[in-house]
């Protein structure tokens, strides 16, 4: 087994989100017996930890890496450093200025636009929205927020502020509570990170405002999906990390195996995001459960 080539999928931090990718990778592993597929978490969601992890992986002899860079803009050089040694792919958030072979993932701006559409649908007569996010400076957050703003531009819907919580979920919930107090005029909450939506749902529920305050979310936390199913969350925009993991690994395996033709000319493979609302939540959830074997 030692001479099997190892392909690594390096994520940007610990999160359940990546369990889906892991499921995809597992499926890919079943189809790629000649490769050893691994998924790696950096011990902290920082560029320093991630860079060091990749350096160590290269040193320990992996054949190729697919990475969700913590901060692609500033990691250019470090990514190039890896890319000069082994084939490097990006996922989740692209780093177009690097020598990466290809990007496979979704477009956060597009996802943001979809969330904007949900907000417009939620507030047909216009209204004010408040956004909640972990790290507003992170690329994915910025692009999603931008997408929302682009879509609602010119309408009567307005995004008044973004409250950040440093990925501290207790603060995330408290931010929602305080917003309900401080801004009774805001009638639509958007949760940009996967845990923001469930915290919004709970805080709004505990304040007895479910239905009055519209909720738009991202990602597929069970509580989010439950809220969608219940009808108290308008909808959520999901990415397909399962496909990133599955398709990404197969792509890498082919490339490492010498088949360069799998890479499109514009080396960006977009796996579109989907809006999950009351109409399709059941089938989506069932599929998700079946893939990750979740409870």
């Amino acid at each position: 087994a030692a001479d099997k080539k190892t392909l690594a999928f390096v994520v940007n931090g610990a999160s359940d989100f990546w369990k889906n990718a892991e499921a995809g990778i597992k499926k890919a592993q079943g189809e790629l017996p000649d490769y050893n597929l691994v998924l790696k978490y950096p011990e902290q969601a920082t560029t320093a930890a991630q860079q060091r992890l990749m350096d160590d992986l290269v040193a320990s002899g992996v054949a190729s890496i697919m990475v969700s860079a913590v901060d692609p803009k500033t990691e250019t050089e470090a990514l190039n450093n890896i890319a000069t040694q082994i084939p490097l792919f990006t996922t989740d958030s692209d780093a177009p200025n690097t020598k990466r072979i290809a990007y496979i993932g979704s477009s956060n701006t597009a996802a943001g636009k979809q969330a904007g559409e949900l907000a417009l649908k939620a507030l047909p007569d216009g209204g004010k929205c408040m956004g909640f996010v972990g790290l507003p400076s992170a690329d994915n957050a910025r692009e999603r927020i931008e997408g929302v703003r682009e879509t609602i531009k010119g309408s009567k819907v307005e995004l008044v502020d973004i409250r950040a919580d440093d990925v501290d979920q207790a603060r995330a919930k408290r931010n929602v509570e305080d917003t309900i107090t401080a801004h009774p005029e805001v009638t639509c909450f958007i949760g940009f990170y996967s845990y923001n939506t469930p915290r919004i749902y709970e805080a709004v529920k505990e304040a007895g405002q479910l239905g009055k305050i519209k909720i738009v979310g991202f990602d597929e936390d069970p509580v989010t999906l439950g809220g969608v199913k219940e009808g108290s969350i308008i909808g959520t925009v999901v990415q397909q990390p399962y496909e990133w993991g599955y398709q990404g690994m197969k792509l890498m395996a082919k490339y490492v195996g010498g088949d360069k033709s799998v890479i499109p000319a514009d080396p960006i493979i977009i796996i579109p995001t989907k809006i999950i609302d009351s109409t399709n939540v059941d089938s989506f959830w069932a599929e998700l459960k079946q893939r990750t074997g979740a409870k």
Binding site: G13, A14, K19, A45, R174, E177, I180, T181, Y195, V223
Partner: protein
């Protein structure tokens, strides 16, 4: 002691008044209730931290204990289907167990509390992350525990149960600290451990007990916190909470040199800290400044308190001198050199 607490109380009232003036919604029942809830969530563990600090120690591991115990709590409920009340008791027991280990290493192995609990900080979170495979532990949607929810998230007469639990813990611990022999021994051990031993106090047991109490309260608080955020992502859950706990205790008059502090002070310190966070959101201050505001207030608070103590000493000395002068306006001085 009392004067110190009074100063803090006045500070809280002033800050609250200013916030209420700038945004009258501050006084709305819902906001007060939310803030009380936060005070309860963070305050319980601050009292435990205060006990440890009074013995001259420190516990840097409470944040990581939140992560570890939170994960275990959810696993017990969801995977092992343990009754919630038993699970809750097990969390308290688990915290006590960790506290026992800390106490053992500090008193028997003579390691420094900072080192012991720094290792705890690193280890417990690591274990929690390992258990969840670096994912997160949560309840499935709709999976509810009506009694547990009522207990941890409910309200009575508009007062959140977290706050009631905090108040009960505070009263109980206040009595323990300020009225019982054990409390007196805590102060004695914190001030001068050797003298305490010479006085026949089992210092090891007293110090260990402080860590165990801190663990028990951390275990209790971890359940409230887990229920509040309805799940645990161990890589971030409770990060830096030890700093909140220490900050509340220090603001409340506990000296890191040991031997000083009061439960009332810690309660006020916890309230002030949460008030500050509420203020940031209510006044629309950028969230980035949240911590800066907290740091600034702690710095100024501690500084002002110390200057006040100094000034009072100086004033006492002066008035004593003045009294002497009056009493003996012209003492017979025989000079022979």
């Amino acid at each position: 002691m009392l004067k110190k607490d009074l100063g803090l109380f006045i500070l809280i009232v002033v800050v609250a008044a200013v916030v209420a003036f700038l945004n009258p919604r501050f006084l709305s029942p819902i906001n007060l209730s939310n803030t009380a809830n936060q005070v309860g969530l963070f305050g319980i563990v601050s009292i435990g931290e205060g006990f440890v600090i009074i013995t001259g120690g420190i516990d840097l591991s409470v944040g990581s204990q939140f992560a570890l115990l939170g994960v275990l709590f959810i696993d017990l409920l969801v995977i092992y289907q343990v009754h919630w009340a038993i699970a809750l008791l097990m969390m308290v027991a688990g915290g006590m167990m960790l506290g026992t280990i800390h106490g053992f290493l500090v008193t028997r192995m003579r390691m420094q509390p900072f080192v012991v609990t720094l290792c705890g900080l690193l280890i417990y979170r690591g274990v929690a992350r390992y258990i969840t495979g670096d994912g997160n532990a949560g309840f499935a949607f709709g999976e509810t525990y009506p009694w547990l929810d009522l207990l941890t998230k409910g309200k009575s007469f508009g007062v959140p149960h977290t706050f009631i639990a905090f108040a009960m813990v505070a009263i109980l611990m206040g009595i323990v600290l300020h009225r019982t022999v054990f409390g007196r021994y805590l102060f004695a051990v914190g001030k001068n451990e050797e003298a305490a031993r010479y006085s026949g106090i089992n210092t090891r047991r007293v110090i260990s007990a402080a860590y165990i109490i801190c663990g028990a309260l951390t275990g209790l608080a971890s359940v409230f916190m887990t229920m509040y955020v309805n799940g645990v992502t161990p890589s971030v859950h409770g990060n830096f909470y030890e700093l909140y706990a220490i900050a509340a205790a220090v603001l409340g008059g506990c000296s890191l040199r040991g031997g000083e502090g009061s439960v009332l002070g810690i309660v006020l310190g916890s309230i002030l800290l949460q008030l500050l966070q509420n203020l940031v959101n209510l006044l629309g201050i950028p969230s980035s400044l949240n911590f800066a505001v907290m740091g600034g207030v702690i710095l100024i608070g501690v500084l002002a308190d110390q200057q006040l103590v100094r000034y009072r000493r100086w004033a006492t000395a002066r008035s004593a001198a003045a009294r002497l002068e009056e009493a003996a306006p012209s003492a017979a001085v025989k000079q022979s050199a």
